[in-house]
């Protein structure tokens, strides 16, 4: 659930970018951070986890304004993808209001995508969250690869029905903002049905 700061009249939602190592979570967040106006975003915090970096920043979305007089803030996180960063993933995922799952479209990485999604499901279950009712967006990243995974592969394997899907090339920014827009809309809708 979001953190409500009664003193400063602010609601902070947490959106986590989840996925296997090197699937493009960090690239997504870096693109969003660069695209945001200076006055609406916080400093990007970078953690040197092995292989890839773990990022965090917060921002005030222009289009969402206020809820019941409370300013809306989004805290954006990536999780480290490597299997052994379990405590880190758990800490970051704890209290998440929505998740963007960034899948790697490389055909050889399907198993890693599925394994990572399994870890996400199991962590959410540990927190008592029913992931089928949880704001979740699936992004197929690296669509510029010569033979990307066909769309639908993950959904069929995982039995995902009706989950919003986006194609992206995060290095070019393609699909990145559409993905975060959908994730933030889902998060707000769940809070304010």
């Amino acid at each position: 659930m979001p953190h409500i700061n009664y003193r400063d009249k602010e609601i902070a939602f947490k959106i986590v970018y989840y996925g296997p190592g090197l699937s493009g979570k960090t690239t997504n967040l870096k693109y969003i951070h660069t695209a945001l106006d200076k006055g609406r975003k916080g400093e990007m915090i970078v953690l040197d986890t092995e292989q890839e970096r773990t990022l965090f920043f917060d921002f005030f979305p222009l289009e969402l304004g206020q809820i019941e007089g409370y300013a809306v803030r989004f805290n954006m996180y990536t999780v480290p993808g490597q299997v052994y960063y379990e405590a880190s993933r758990r800490l970051i995922l704890e209290g998440a209001d929505g998740v963007v799952f960034v899948a790697d479209s490389h055909e050889g990485r399907l198993d890693e995508n599925l394994e990572s999604f399994g870890m996400l499901q199991s962590s959410l279950a540990d927190f008592g969250v029913d992931w089928k009712r949880f704001p979740l967006v699936l992004q197929y990243n690296k669509r510029d690869l010569p033979q990307p995974l066909p769309l639908g592969t993950m959904e069929i394997k995982l039995g995902l029905n009706g989950i919003p899907i986006f194609e992206a090339v995060a290095t070019e920014g393609r699909g990145v903002m559409d993905t975060i827009r959908m994730a933030s809309r889902q998060v707000i809708e769940k809070f304010q049905p």
Binding site: I45, L47, F56, N75, Y84
Partner: protein, 239 residues
């Protein structure tokens, strides 16, 4: 509006301690009742209410930890402070686990004790005990609610550290010979133990300036890397 001072039951078989602390708190305006062991204390508690019980551990007939057990079962709203001359990490851990809000080793600084009692008696606030919580989660909570507190963390094997949280921001940490971020991460990587909130005192220096989220995530990362150890070396390199 005048605020009512906490009524205190002081339980110790050492007359010097009873005399010194009793006099201090009486002069400070607290209604104080004293007795010499756990059995006498229970008789007094059954006859009347006390806001706080300050108890020694080693006493004849019924010791202080048994008294804490009785209080948790029968007077859950009464706050307990444990004081002892024969303490150690395991006794501290046990006292806090049983529900003491504060554990102090003798000689007790009465100013610190009084400050702790005053700061914990805000009438709109709740008190309670948290068991089996990750120290990272607890630190996160202190940050979220903007607390000003000194968090004393003790490990099961005797390690101890202090984390100074000023209005939700970690400003300083000490752990054995270490200070600053190194000390903070050492405390946060203890493999289990206990913690207690001590009243705020200004740190003698500011050694930590990083944002709270960074500190939490960095601590989790260090834990993961320490636990994974050499196993990481066997994992594949980046594609």
């Amino acid at each position: 509006m005048t605020t009512r001072k906490e009524s205190i039951l002081l339980v110790d078989d050492d007359p010097e301690v009873v005399w010194a602390l009793g006099r201090y708190f009486t002069r400070a305006g607290f209604p104080v009742t004293t007795c010499g062991d756990g059995e006498e204390a229970i008789a007094l508690l059954e006859a009347g209410d006390f806001d706080t019980v300050i108890t020694d551990i080693q006493m004849p007939r019924l010791n202080g930890l048994a008294l804490v057990d009785w209080l948790r079962a029968n007077r859950a709203g009464t706050r307990v402070v444990v004081i002892t001359a024969f303490g150690g990490p395991s006794i501290r851990h046990l006292s806090i686990k049983k529900g003491a809000i504060l554990y102090l080793e003798k000689p007790v600084d009465p100013d610190l004790l009084a400050e702790a009692l005053l700061s914990s008696k805000e009438e709109t606030a709740f008190s309670g005990n948290i068991d089996k919580i990750d120290i990272l989660d607890y630190l996160q909570l202190m940050m979220l609610i903007g607390r000003q507190v000194v968090l004393e963390v003790s490990s099961k094997d005797g390690g101890q550290g202090l984390i100074f949280i000023d209005k939700g921001k970690v400003r300083h940490a000490k752990c054995e010979d270490l200070e600053g971020e190194e000390a903070l991460f050492k405390c946060l990587c203890f493999e289990g133990g206990s913690f207690v909130n001590l009243p705020w005192t200004e740190p003698d220096k500011i050694t930590i300036n990083k944002p709270g989220d960074f500190l939490l995530m960095e601590a989790a990362r260090k834990r993961d890397e320490a636990r994974a150890g050499p196993k990481r070396m066997l994992e594949g390199c980046p594609e």
